[in-house]
Structure formats: C-alpha cells, structure tokens
C-alpha cells in the first residue's frame, strides 16, 4: 500500500538556525498537505501544494512539491521557539476518490533551543 516517509524523525535546532524536513511518498500524490501539531494538540493545516514543482512561502516557511509529485520539503529559516512541534506531511493517493483520505508521514518532531 501507499507509504509516506519523513526524515528526519527528530530535529533539534538552535534558535535562529535553518532546517529542512523531507517527505517522500511511494506513490504519486494528487496533492501534498503539511500540518503542524503542537505537543498535546491536534494537527493544524499549514499549506496545500497541488502542482508539480510548486513552491509556496509562508513567512519563514518554504514548501516545495517535487516534479514527480512524490516528494515534498519544508524549509524553515531563522527558527523561533514558536516553531516547536511535529510537522506532518500528508497526501491522498492518486487512486482515491476521497481527497480527505490522507496518508500521513510519521512526522518530524522539532525542538528549538533558545
């Protein structure tokens, strides 16, 4: 079945540093979504990428969707303590009729040291 993998599983960052988390799907995705989950919280939608090669920015966050629509990345510049949490990528397989049937990656847990 479809698998979505994320690396690294754990990211320890000094405040002010940049980092990137990567997401790879075993199947082509119709779109890729990124969610953030704070400790003890629920996933909160960050962004959706639909087009092959698409790049979107949200302030210090840059999201990219690969040309083959099987991988994605999230790059955070000048990390702040508010960036703490687990970042999940998720996508519906091309074969599903339900775009809400998402396959989530295992997440990258981000810890920021002041």
């Amino acid at each position: 079945g479809q698998q979505v993998m994320q690396i690294p599983q754990y990211q320890h960052v000094q405040e002010g540093e940049d980092f990137t988390t990567y997401c790879n799907s075993s199947t082509t995705l119709s779109n890729i979504q990124w969610y953030k989950q704070r400790p003890g919280g629920h996933p909160v939608f960050l962004i959706q990428l639909v087009k092959s090669g698409e790049v979107k920015k949200q302030k210090r966050l840059t999201f990219q969707f690969g040309e083959a629509k099987k991988n994605s990345s999230l790059h955070i510049t000048a990390t702040q303590t508010t960036d703490v949490g687990t970042y999940f990528c998720a996508g519906p397989a091309m074969t599903t009729d339900s775009w809400g049937k998402l396959q989530f990656g295992a997440g990258t847990q981000v810890v920021v040291t002041p």
Partner: protein, 113 residues
C-alpha cells in the same frame, strides 16, 4: 474562526465495553472524517463520510467500528467492544469540499484498561 468540537476530551473504559465518541463538525461542512493517533505515532485514517454514508474506510475500521450522523450537527464514532489496542487519540475532521484541507478537532483521548 469556526471549530470542530469533540467530546469528551478523555474517555476511560474497560476492555469489552462500548464507547461513543462525539464530534460537532463545522456547520457548513459536508465531508466528515475520523482519524486516530496512537501515542507517539503518526495520524491514521479511519473513515470518511459524505451524504449520510461511508465514502471510504481503512483496514483499521473493522466491524467493531461504526459511524453515524444522528442529526444535523453531530457525527459519532462507536466502538462496540473495545480492545486494549484501541487506546489512542481519536480526531474528528471536516471539510466543506472534497478537495479542501482538513479541519481537525482537539481530539478524544481513549484509554482502554
């Protein structure tokens, strides 16, 4: 901003008991979902629901699970005979269109003893 609300926030039950987890999706949303997250693990799809019927379900969603929209506002997940491995955080989510991002509720932490 409208929210998906879930009750209770924490449910403790004994193995073999039935539980009902409740959700009130955002009012103008038409697509409803249940996901679960075992502690420290990834979020897993359980079931999607649209137009008063199940659209898709995962292998996890076996005969012990059922969903219902009993009225115009609530969306429930029932587990008939809970097992220890059902212990997890259960998230309800909703969207207004089939290709829109999900709005998750705060979750119900189910503990089966």
């Amino acid at each position: 901003e409208p929210e998906v609300t879930q009750t209770p926030s924490h449910q403790v039950t004994q193995m073999g008991q039935e539980v009902i987890l409740r959700c009130v999706p955002i009012s103008n949303h038409l697509y409803f979902y249940w996901y679960r997250q075992i502690l420290g693990q990834k979020v897993e799809f359980l079931v999607s629901f649209y137009n008063n019927e199940i659209s898709e379900k995962s292998e996890i969603f076996d005969d012990q699970f059922s969903v219902e929209r009993p009225d115009g506002s609530n969306f429930t997940l029932k587990i008939r005979s809970t097992k220890l491995e059902d212990s997890a955080m259960y998230f309800c989510a909703s969207t207004d269109r089939g290709n829109s991002p999900l709005h998750f509720g705060n979750g119900t932490r189910l503990t089966v003893t």
